[in-house]
């Protein structure tokens, strides 16, 4: 089999270069995004792409977002916003934790919810 030799080579030097470049690229992009962001002031709640509610990050509050037969409990506390409870299947929004910087988002895809911190 002529392909045998190429099949046996699992990793070549280009793979390693690619691996390192992508890790560096991703890490740099992450750090740039993280450190160039200012703290936000307002929390915007988008339902299916439309702005439905707006809150100040300075005022502690709790808001229940309702989508069809599901809901997400959004909590604003000590200048942070997070999702404390949700009945969506994956709980990604709850696991995303607290956010406070301008441009950061928490997303609940099943409920078409985007929580975005804004200036």
């Amino acid at each position: 089999m002529s392909e045998e030799s190429s099949k046996k080579r699992l990793i070549n030097k280009f793979d390693i270069i690619l691996f390192i470049l992508l890790i560096i690229l991703g890490a740099c992009a992450f750090l740039i995004i993280k450190f160039t962001r200012a703290e936000g002031k307002t929390v915007n709640i988008y339902s299916d792409g439309e702005l439905t509610e707006s809150f100040s990050l300075d005022d502690d509050t709790e808001y229940v977002y309702i989508w069809e037969d599901g809901n997400n409990v959004i909590v604003i506390e000590n200048g942070y916003v997070y999702v404390s409870h949700a009945d969506c299947p994956d709980k990604v929004c709850v696991n995303q934790g607290e956010i406070k910087n301008d441009g950061e988002t928490i997303v609940c895809i099943p409920h078409r919810l985007v929580i975005e911190v804004d200036e």
């Binding site: 190429s6 099949k7 046996k8 080579r9 699992l10 990793i11 070549n12 280009f14 793979d15 690619l18 691996f19 992508l22 890790i23 690229l25 991703g26 890490a27 992009a29 992450f30 995004i33 988008y46 299916d48 792409g49 439309e50 994956d90 709980k91 990604v92 696991n95 995303q96 934790g97 441009g103 950061e104 988002t105 997303v107 895809i109 099943p110 078409r112 985007v114 975005e116």
Partner: protein, 166 residues
Amino acid sequence: MRNNRKIALMGAFIALAMVLSYFESFIPVFIAVPGVKPGLANIVTIIALKELGLKDAFVISIARIILSGILFGNITVILYSLAGAILSILAMSFLSKIKIFSVTGISIIGGVMHNLGQVIMASLLLDSGSIMYYMAVLTVTGTVSGALVGILAGIIITRIDFSGKN
């Protein structure tokens, strides 16, 4: 490859990919970023791409996504997975042809492109461009998981003869 053998192999590949994506759903989201998954079903996609070619790899991947989506997910899951899979397979197929990278490099690009497709779909569905920021973290996780998947797929390809000649 004989037609009957190919049909049987594709059926087995679809079943295997479904089992892998079902198995993966039990792995908890360990990083607080949506879309971070090992992508085990990609092992099957890469083997199919190498052994059967682009068209059959496409059929296997799309059949797996639709069947798994109906059984264990929902329409949004199907849309995301399709966007990721289509971009990923096209990129991997292109890289297989230009023969610079080995299977590991091809899989790394596949992993990152899968994430990119999903993030683009999320931006479209949620009408929010700020989701693109997740791509920074997903580039790192997609690269790592893509490398692992590629090494696994490569080992399987070298150990198993799918042509059935022996």
